[in-house]
Amino acid sequence: MSDTARTLLPTATQARTRAAVRELIRPHRRLALGGFAMMIVATSVGLLVQPLLGRIVDLVADHRPPGSITLPVVLLVLVALAQGATTVLGLSLVSRLGETVLAHLRERFVEKALRLPLEQVEKAGAGDLTARVTRDVSVVGEAVRSALPELARSLLAIALTLVAMAALDWRFFLAALVAVPVQASTARWYVRNAVPLYAEQRIATGAQQQQLLDTVAGAGTVRAFRLEEEHTERVTRRSSAAVELTLRGVRLVLNFYNRLHVAEYAGLAAVLVTGFLLVRGGSVSIGTATAAALYFHSLFTPVNSALVLLDDAQSATAALARLVGVADQPSPELSSELSSEPAQRTGADIGIGAAGTVTVTGLHHAYEPGRPVLHDVDLTLRAGERVALVGVSGAGKTTLAKLIAGVHRPTSGSVHVTAGAGAPREGLPVALVTQETHVFAGPLADDLRLARAGAGDDELRTALATVDALDWAGALPDGLDTVVGDGGHRLTLAQVQQLALARLVLADPPVAVLDEATAEAGSTGARLLEQAADRAVEGRTALIVAHRLTQAATADRIVVMDGGRIVESGTHDELCAAAGPYASLWEAWSGTRATADRTPTHHPRPDTTTVKDH
C-alpha cells in the first residue's frame, strides 16, 4: 500500500485562494476598513516630519529669529505623539483582523481535514496532511503576525511618501521614479531565483529534520547496534546540505541588496539634481529641496523591507493555497451526526434491520489496478456474533477489516450494515480499533471523551474498568486528569491499547472491528489485552483479526482467509475436524505448545488433543 502512486490532497488555485480570503474577511469588513484607515492616518501623520524639518531649514535660510523654530518643533513633538497613538490603534486593529481570520481559517481547515475520507488521506501519504496542519498553518500564521502588517506599513509608507514628494513638486516624484526600474527588475530577478532555491531549501531542511528525528528517536537502537558513527555521519551530511543551501540563499539576498544600493544611489542623485535645478530656477525653496531629499532617504527602509517581504508573502500564499485546498473540500452532509458519519466512511451503507448485522457480498478490492488483494468475498456477521478472521500475513485480513469498517471503498461488491430497527442508534455503526498507538495529548479523560463527548467521570471509569485499565489509570499522578500523550505521562503500549479499547466501549457501536488490536503489546500483555478486548466487544457484532490463534479459538466462528479469498468458515471444533487450512494453522500454533494438553480457556473441546498430536 505504501507504494501506490501518491495523490496529494488538493491545492487551491490562486483565484480560489483570493476568493477564499475575501470570504473570510467579509464578516469583518468594518474591522478591515477601520484598521487600514488608521494605518493610512498613522503613515500620513509620519510624513509631516520632513516638511516640518524643511520648514525649519527655510526659517534658518530666511534668517528668522531663533525663537521662530519653536512652533515647528512643537508640531514635530505633536506629530510624534499622534503617529505613535495612531500606529498603536492601527496595528491593533490590523492584527485583530489578521488573527481572527487566521483562527477561522485554521478551524475550518482542521474541521475539513478531520472529516476527509481516510482513503484520501492515505493516498496522499501521512506526511501531506501533517505538513499542512503544522508547517503551512504556522507559515501563514507567521505571515499574518509579522510579514503582513510590516508589508502593509511599508507599502503605505512608499505610496504616501511618493504622493508627498509629488505634493512638494511633481518633478521630485519623477526623479524618485528613476530608481523604480532597477528596483522592479531586481525584485523580479530575486523572486525568480529565490522561489526555487527556497523550495529546495525547505526540502533539505525537511530531510535534515527527518534524519534528526530518526536518529534521536532511535537512539537506543543506534547505540545497541553501534551505529553511532554512521548516524552522526548521516546527520552531518543532511545538515551540510542544508547549510550549503542556506549560504546560497544568503548570497542571493546579498546580491539583491547590492542591486538595491545601485537603485538608491541613482534615485538619490536624481532627487538632489532635481532639487539643485529647481532651487536655481527659483521654483522651490531650499527647505523644500531638503524635505524631498529627506523623503527619498527615508524611503530606503520601507523599500528594502517590502522587497524582502515579497518572498515571505510568496511562501505564505503557497501555504495558504494548500490550506484553502483542504478547507474547500465539500462537506459530507453536515445536517446531523447520524448521517454525517456513515457518509464519509464511504464503504459501508447503512440500513435498518437487526442491529449490527453485517452483510458482505461479492467483494473485490485492489489498491492498485491489476494487483487484487480480495477476490469475491461473501460474508455475513449475525448481530452479536463474534467472528475471528485468521490467515497468514498478506492473506487480505486487514483489507477486509478496513472495507467492513468503511475506511476504503471496495473496487466492486458491497458491504451492508444494519444500524438497528426502529429508532436508529446514535453515533457510528462500525468502530475500528487497529494496532495504532497514538494517545491524544492532554488529560486522559479528554482523550476518552473524544469517543463520547460529555461522558461523565463515572462513565469513563466504567469503560476503563471494562478493559481492566481502571487500576493503573486511577493510580496515575492526577488520576483521570493526568496529562498523557506527547509531552505528558508516558503510557506503555499495552496501556495505550487498553485506552483504545476503552474508547471503543464509550463509542458503543453495534459493530466493532478489531485489527490486531493486541499485537503491539508483547506476548504477556497480549493475553491481558485479549481478555480486555473480549469484554469490550461484548454485546456487539465483532470481527476480530487475530494472529494469536488462542484468541480465534474462543470466537463464535472462525473465518480463514488465504490469497484474498475466504477458504474456510466454522467453529474451532468444526474446522479442526475438517483438517483444512485452519487445522494446519492450529497445528503449527499448538504444536509448538508441545506437551500442552490444554485447550484454549473457556471452550473445553475434547477433540483438540488429537489435532495437537503430531
Binding site: V57, G84, E99, Q211, L213, F225, T232, Y265, L294
Partner: protein, 564 residues
C-alpha cells in the same frame, strides 16, 4: 568525548569563539557599511550647502561623485561583511547540531531520558539556529554601535551641544524603550506559548486521525479544537496589542528625539553657529540613527533568545551519562558466558542466572515490566541497583559500554528501522564480510521481500512505519541476527507475526545462532519450544529453570504465562 558544557553562557562563548575570524571580519566590514550609511545624510547636507544653496554646478558634480564612492564602499562592505556574519551563524549552528547528536548518541546514554524525540530534534534545529544567530547579532550589534558613534562624532565636530544631545538622547531612548518593552515581552512570551498550543493540538489530532475515525470521534475533536483555537486567539490578540503598543511607543520616542535635535540644531543654525548644510546633516543623521537603534533592539532580543536557547543546548550537552565506561576490556576471544549475580533493579529481586556460552536460553517473565528491567541491565542502559552482570567474568560496569555492545546485542521489542532499503537495514550492523542471507531467511525477511514491490531493495520510510508491524519485526530480527554478535538477547521478536511464520522463525533462529549465546525474552511457546532451557521470572525472582516441555508439564504459573 565531547567537552563538558556547564552552562549556556559557555555554549554561547564557545560558539562565538569558534567563529571569531568571521565574526571579526563581519564586524569590521559591517562597521564600514554603517559609517558609509551615516555619511549619506551628511553628504546630502553638504550637497544642499555647497551646491544647492549657491547653485554651484561644479560642486554638485564633485559631491555627487563623492556620494558615488561612498555608495560603492558601503555596498561592498555590506556584501562581504554580511556574508562573513551569516556564514559564521550557519557554521556555528551546524557544529552545535553535530555536537548535540554526538551527545545524544553517546554510548553512555542519558541525554534522551525525559525528553521527547521531537523536543530534542527541536533543540538541535531551532535552538542551535538561535545560538548560531548570536554570531550575526554580535556582528550587527558592533556595526550599529560604530554607526551610532560615527554619527555622534560628526555631530560633535559640528557642535558639541548637538553631539551631546544625540549621544545622551540615544541611550536614554534605548533605555526607555527597553523599560517599556520588558514587562510586555514577558507577558507576550507566555501568550505566544499559549498561541503555539493550538497548532500542537491540531497536529496531535491529525496524527491520531485513524483512531479518531475508528471511533467516530471527529465531531468531538473538531469541537475541542475550536475551543483551543479560540483560547489561543484571545491570547494572541493580547500579545498583538502589547506589540502594537510597543511599536507605537518606540515611534513616538524616536520622533521626540528628532524634535529635540531639530530644536537644538535649528537654534544653533539660526544663531549662525552651524551652517544650513550642517543642520540638514544633523536632521538626516537623527533620522539615520533610527536604523542602528532598531538593529540594537533586535540584537538585544536575539541575544536574549540566544541565551535561552544556549541554556537548553547546554542542558542536553551536560546531561549526566546513564552509565559510565570502566577501565577493563574484554578478552580477544569472547566465549559468551553471561552471569547475573544478585541483580536487583526495578522489579527484579536478587536474580542469579548463569548463561553458558553457546546456550539458547528462554526467559519468561510473568510481569512484562520485569522483562524490561532485565533487558535494561543486559543492554547496560542502566546499571543494576544491586548485584552485577558479568560477561566472560568481567562485570559490565568495568567495561566501556560501546566496546561491550560490539559483543553483546540486546534487540529490543520496539527497535526502530532507519531510512534505507530493507537490505540496508538488515546489513546495518553486519560484519563487512558476512553474508546476510541466512539471517534474512531465518527471520522470514525473504517472505517479506517477496510481497514488496522492489523486494529487499524496497525503501523503508518513517522509521519503518511504511511496513506492517509483522514485516517490521522480521526486518528488525534479521538485522539482529545479521549483526552476528557473540551474545544476542532478543525481546518478543514475533508478536505481530502469524503462527506459521513464527514457527519457521523459531527454527531458523536456532539454526543461525547455533553455538553462540542467545537469550530469548518472550512468552511465545513457538519460540520457547526451540530453547535449550527456560528461566521463569515470577515476582521479579527466578522461581524455576528447566526445558520448556518440562516447565509446561509441571509448573502451573508457567503454563498460565505461556499458554492460555
Amino acid at each position: 568525548m565531547s567537552p563538558t558544557y556547564p552552562s549556556g553562557r559557555d555554549v554561547l562563548r564557545e560558539s562565538v569563539r569558534e567563529q571569531r575570524r568571521d565574526v571579526a571580519l563581519g564586524s569590521l566590514l559591517g562597521s564600514g557599511h554603517q559609517v558609509g550609511e551615516a555619511l549619506v545624510p551628511v553628504l546630502i547636507g553638504v550637497v544642499i550647502d555647497r551646491a544647492v544653496t549657491g547653485s554651484d554646478t561644479g560642486a554638485l558634480v564633485r559631491w555627487l561623485g563623492v556620494l558615488a564612492v561612498v555608495y560603492v564602499a558601503l555596498a561592498l562592505s555590506f556584501r562581504y561583511g554580511a556574508w562573513a556574519g551569516d556564514r559564521s551563524a550557519v557554521r556555528a549552528e551546524h557544529s552545535l547540531r553535530i555536537a548535540l547528536v554526538r551527545r545524544v548518541l553517546h554510548p553512555g546514554g542519558g541525554a534522551e531520558d525525559g525528553r521527547l524525540p521531537g523536543a530534542l530534534a527541536n533543540i538541535a534545529t531551532e535552538d542551535a539556529k538561535r545560538v548560531g544567530g548570536v554570531n550575526t547579532a554580535v556582528m550587527y550589534g558592533i556595526a550599529s554601535l560604530v554607526g551610532i558613534l560615527t554619527c555622534a562624532f560628526v555631530l560633535l565636530r559640528t557642535s558639541v551641544l548637538l553631539g551631546l544631545v544625540v549621544l545622551l538622547g540615544t541611550p536614554v531612548l534605548l533605555w526607555l524603550g527597553h523599560l517599556l518593552s520588558k514587562p510586555l515581552e514577558t507577558r507576550s512570551e507566555a501568550e505566544q506559548e499559549r498561541a503555539a498550543h493550538a497548532s500542537a493540538v491540531a497536529a496531535d489530532l491529525v496524527a491520531g486521525l485513524r483512531i479518531l475515525k475508528g471511533i467516530g470521534g471527529e465531531s468531538a475533536a473538531i469541537d475541542r479544537y475550536r475551543t483551543t483555537s479560540r483560547d489561543s486567539l484571545r491570547a494572541t490578540l493580547k500579545a498583538a496589542r502589547a506589540q502594537a503598543f510597543q511599536s507605537g511607543m518606540v515611534l513616538s520616542l524616536t520622533g521626540c528625539l528628532i524634535a529635540v535635535v531639530a530644536l537644538v540644531g535649528g537654534r544653533l543654525a539660526a544663531e549662525g553657529t552651524i551652517s544650513l548644510g550642517q543642520l540638514v546633516s544633523a536632521v538626516g543623521l537623527a533620522l539615520f540613527l533610527l536604523g542602528p537603534l532598531e538593529v540594537l533592539a533586535w540584537v538585544n532580543a536575539e541575544l536574549a533568545q540566544g541565551r535561552a536557547s544556549a541554556g537548553r543546548v547546554a542542558e542536553v550537552l551536560a546531561t549526566a551519562h546513564s552509565v559510565t565506561a570502566g577501565e577493563r576490556s574484554l578478552p580477544r576471544q569472547v566465549r559468551g558466558a553471561v552471569r547475573l549475580a544478585g541483580v536487583s533493579h526495578g522489579g527484579l529481586r536478587e536474580v542469579d542466572l548463569d548463561i553458558e556460552p553457546g546456550e539458547l536460553l528462554g526467559v519468561v517473565a510473568t510481569d512484562p515490566a520485569h522483562a524490561t528491567d532485565l533487558l535494561r541491565c543486559l543492554a547496560r542502559r542502566a546499571d543494576p541497583d544491586a548485584g552485577t552482570v558479568e560477561l566472560d567474568g568481567v562485570s559490565l560496569r568495568d567495561l566501556d559500554p560501546a566496546e561491550m555492545r560490539t559483543v553483546l546485542l540486546v534487540a529490543e521489542h520496539d527497535a526502530d528501522l532507519f531510512e534505507g532499503t530493507v537490505r540496508d537495514n538488515v546489513t546495518a550492523a553486519a560484519p563487512e564480510a558476512g553474508d546476510p542471507e541466512p539471517a534474512m531467511t531465518a527471520a522470514g525477511v525473504d517472505q517479506v521481500a517477496r510481497t514488496l514491490p522492489e523486494g529487499d531493495g524496497t525503501a523503508v520510510s518513517e522509521r519503518g512505519r511504511s511496513l506492517s508491524g509483522g514485516q517490521r519485526q522480521r526486518v528488525a530480527l534479521a538485522r539482529a541476527l545479521a549483526a552476528d554478535r557473540a551474545v544476542l538477547v532478543v525481546h518478543d521478536p514475533t508478536t505481530a507475526v502469524d503462527a506459521v511464520t513464527e514457527a519457521g522463525i523459531a527454527a531458523g533462529l536456532r539454526e543461525v545462532r547455533k553455538g553462540r549465546t542467545t537469550v530469548l525474552v518472550t512468552t511465545s511457546p513457538a519460540l520457547l519450544s526451540v530453547t535449550d532451557r527456560v528461566v521463569l521470572l515470577d515476582g521479579g525472582r527466578v522461581t524455576d529453570t528447566a526445558p520448556h516441555a518440562e516447565l509446561i508439564a509441571r509448573h502451573e504459573t508457567y503454563r498460565t504465562a505461556v499458554l492460555a
